[in-house]
Symmetry: C2
Subunit: 506 residues, 2 copies
């Protein structure tokens, strides 16, 4: 027992119930907008989301909430759950206090509207449909970031944005991490290109209707441990996961008619996110420390299942027969052939379809563009050109159209600037977690080959999920793996795969 | 222009935006619970709905809201839109002021929980699964009704409940209306039974898969004028309609595998509700007077499309070929045969499948039981027996199980006590509106036979939908039809149908 005054804690948690009600209602409304809402629902949805955001802001900026949180913070023992509650509450309160209510409402309405105009623009391959909303959104986001900087939350606009998704992360150190990674990845990609070798992707380029792909995806989700009584899967143009507490965590999926990989790996990716949310401790639901530690940690869970499970040879040594069961045209393909087909290395235009090695180059493009956008070095009107040039320079390809270029990602339409770097952070964390998991379970290859993946989920539940956000992301990863976050495990993992797939010594 | 102080009106409308945001968010969460939510989502959903209800209560009971509303009320011209805003706002404020916040939250949580246990109980045909929640819900509803009576909103518990759904309606006059209706309907039902004649229902008892029934239902909805860009249709165990403003009004449907009528007529019923919501004036969205006038008026819209359009001979003289297009097994059936098959008169167990004539007997059963429940004359533990006896006495049949008996309706599980009488009120209104519509458009039979139903929707838009809740229900019906509400048009309509279908002089 700590010496925290019970009354302050009780008051804090009691008020957080309503904040959670508003946030989960807004989350449900956003899920619904992406999966269910008819087109003409947007204006009403925007007004609803603006109202909910304004009310949340009102609750967070009520001085008595800060008083409760500060009283808990003062008295809580370091590293206790109470300290974590106070920390997260004060963080949200401080961000809310910095931004005027009107701007918060305006941003919520604008995000809902921009999501719709982005969808329309992308379908029409026409940036002009989205550009006015994007311009307004960047403008309002700059206003918000400046307010956060003025309040001392960060020293630059971009850090203020980044801090929402990855608490404590800073553009400066992220630049170092990404530069270092790019420096190590580019020679790898080059070595593959120089070898003149390619992998045979044809085993995966199989026509399969939605019904078959859906059955396969569902079996893989079940295998990983996804609880269907606490979730559901729906189609979405840009797959995502949405949780409203551990009892209701929804995934979405998108299938390609003639390539099994995006649907299969995309589902494992979303399932990784969902397992995290389903595994959060129910007793912390609706409390300040009850959520995920950061988006980087979230992404580590999705990428671990997608890349370290779904792209591994031992897994396919077991799963090949299940694949053949659902898609008979793959019968007779060996696990080695399936595995090789999961490891092309090829500069490409679309992030979500990128191979594991070039993926982080896509993130570097976005990170640098966002930095330039919020430093004022690039205007929204110049974003398309800057995007295309950056792709040519960093990835080595140039988009032929905006749908596969600057319009490909949903994030900016949702006002999620500063979000992309969490993908690379997640990739680093995933590799580091998997290395430690391998050591802890004895042989993870044996687990993967057995078709019983429970030991993997069990380890993640124990080391990551059940910890919610009691620790910050960096501390959590260090607690789980015994070492601070490093790029070494990811680079090792990629080198190993490429050495095997391309018979290289890299 | 009225002399209302603009500032008070502006403040009232501004605050109502947030109340609407909370109410539409709760509405979406309820729709989702019935159509999309996984089973384990219930506890979180209950907490969310309790939080939203508590926050709505907080906004409504803020004294400055009442001040604004009273200032508008004092200055507004009688029968103006401003007066209607003030009236509806003060009504909601007065109800909120009467009920403690804790009870409001408790009821919202309990309703969400009871909906889930009712679903489970009905599927298992086992009342005991639902009985504890129902008992708690009745207890809490009595507490709420007593608080409303104490505040002077009504003089009896039941009137206090009824008033939420049908403002101004009272159990006393409803008893007279229903007694009178029962008195006129029972001899009609008896005359049909005495004649020994039956109608041939076989044209409708056709096996058709969901795909065919769905295509048919969608065409009928489109024909009626349902805007698919402002709505969607999903499966639900107990069909309903849910609107989140005119741009997003969702219907649900349920098909029987071997009877086309429930799916078809049920869809027309829900479409009738949806057309009302889609036709509410967009400029009043999110204002106190922007919603439907009452649930009785709402039901008049659904029953008009279901019974006066969907069960009419001229409509089928046009629609028979469309039916045959979607369900080829009905090809060759004449419009007269289809029409006759829509007019069985037969005491039955299940309200939603009841014929038009016996339907109101089902309502009378529920109305009398609810009165007894809230007068304390029947306990929840005795509800099943009371239900079965009442069915035997009033309808002439006795349920063999609870799923087709006391568990058949969703309403009580949602805490909607006092809701059922609005169905009969809606039936009366529908017949009266249709009679006037017939006079106004010249010949509604000609419209129905033409396959272009726009004149019907146009009349309803003009007389009902665009009026939102500027007038009370009774005044609205009198304005639309020129006479006060009466049972005569409904009884005439039923007599005409039965005389023709059974060759009787009734």
């Amino acid at each position: 027992m700590t010496s925290v005054p019970d009354r302050s804690l009780e008051q804090l948690l009691q008020r957080w119930v309503d904040i959670t009600a508003l946030e989960t209602a807004a989350g449900l409304a956003s899920w619904d907008q992406e999966t269910m809402m008819p087109a003409k629902g947007q204006p009403g949805r925007g007004a609803m989301l603006a109202g909910l955001a304004g009310l949340t802001h009102g609750l967070l900026t009520d001085p008595s909430l800060r008083e409760s949180a500060e009283a808990v913070a003062e008295e809580a023992e370091p590293a206790s759950i109470e300290a974590a509650h106070a920390h997260h509450a004060l963080r949200a309160i401080t961000r809310a206090d910095a931004v005027p209510a009107g701007l918060t409402r305006h941003l919520a309405e604008l995000r809902s509207r921009s999501l719709s105009s982005w969808q329309e623009a992308r379908a029409a391959n026409d940036l002009t449909v989205f550009q006015p909303d994007l311009t307004e959104l960047v403008h309002a986001t700059i206003e918000m970031a400046d307010a956060l900087v003025d309040a001392g939350i960060a020293t630059s606009r971009y850090d203020a944005l980044l801090d929402e998704y990855e608490p404590g992360a800073r553009a400066g150190s992220l630049t170092d991490v990404l530069d270092d990674l790019v420096e190590q990845l580019v020679p790898l990609v080059q070595a593959v290109a120089d070898s003149g070798r390619t992998v045979d992707e044809s085993p995966w380029l199989v026509a399969a209707d939605e019904r078959r792909q859906e059955a396969l995806a569902r079996e893989m989700a079940t295998l990983a441990g996804y609880d269907w009584e606490a979730g559901r899967m729906d189609p979405a143009a840009h797959p995502f996961t949405c949780g409203f507490g551990p009892g209701d965590v929804r995934i979405t999926r998108r299938f390609e008619p003639d390539d099994l990989r995006p649907g299969l790996l995309g589902t494992l990716h979303e399932v990784g996110h969902a397992l995290y949310e389903q595994g959060l401790p129910p007793e912390l639901t609706g409390t300040p420390a009850g959520g995920a530690a950061s988006l980087g940690v979230h992404e580590s869970q999705s990428r671990l299942w997608e890349n370290h499970v779904g792209r591994s040879l031992p897994f396919w040594s077991w799963a090949a027969s299940r694949l053949a069961h659902h898609v008979p045209d793959t019968a007779g393909v060996s696990p080695e052939q399936l595995w090789a087909g999961l490891h092309p290395v090829r500069p490409s235009l679309v992030r979500v379809e990128a191979d594991e090695t070039t993926y982080n180059l896509h993130i570097a493009v976005r990170f640098r563009l966002e930095l330039a956008l919020f430093d004022g070095d690039v205007a929204v009107a110049d974003l398309r050109d800057a995007w295309d040039e950056s792709y040519e320079q960093l990835v080595g390809v140039r988009p032929a159209n905006v749908a596969d270029g600057v319009l490909q990602d949903i994030h900016w339409s949702m006002g999620a600037f500063g979000y992309f770097p969490t993908y690379t952070i997640g990739n680093l964390m995933a590799a580091q977690l998997f290395e430690r998991l391998d050591a802890d379970v004895g042989s993870v290859d044996g687990v993967l080959a057995s078709g019983d993946l429970a030991p993997i989920l069990g380890w993640l539940r124990d080391r990551i999920h059940r910890r919610a956000s009691v620790l910050g992301a960096d501390d959590l990863i260090e607690e789980a793996t015994g070492t601070p976050l490093s790029a070494r495990p990811l680079v090792d993992h990629l080198r190993r795969n490429l050495a095997a797939a391309y018979d290289l010594s890299v």
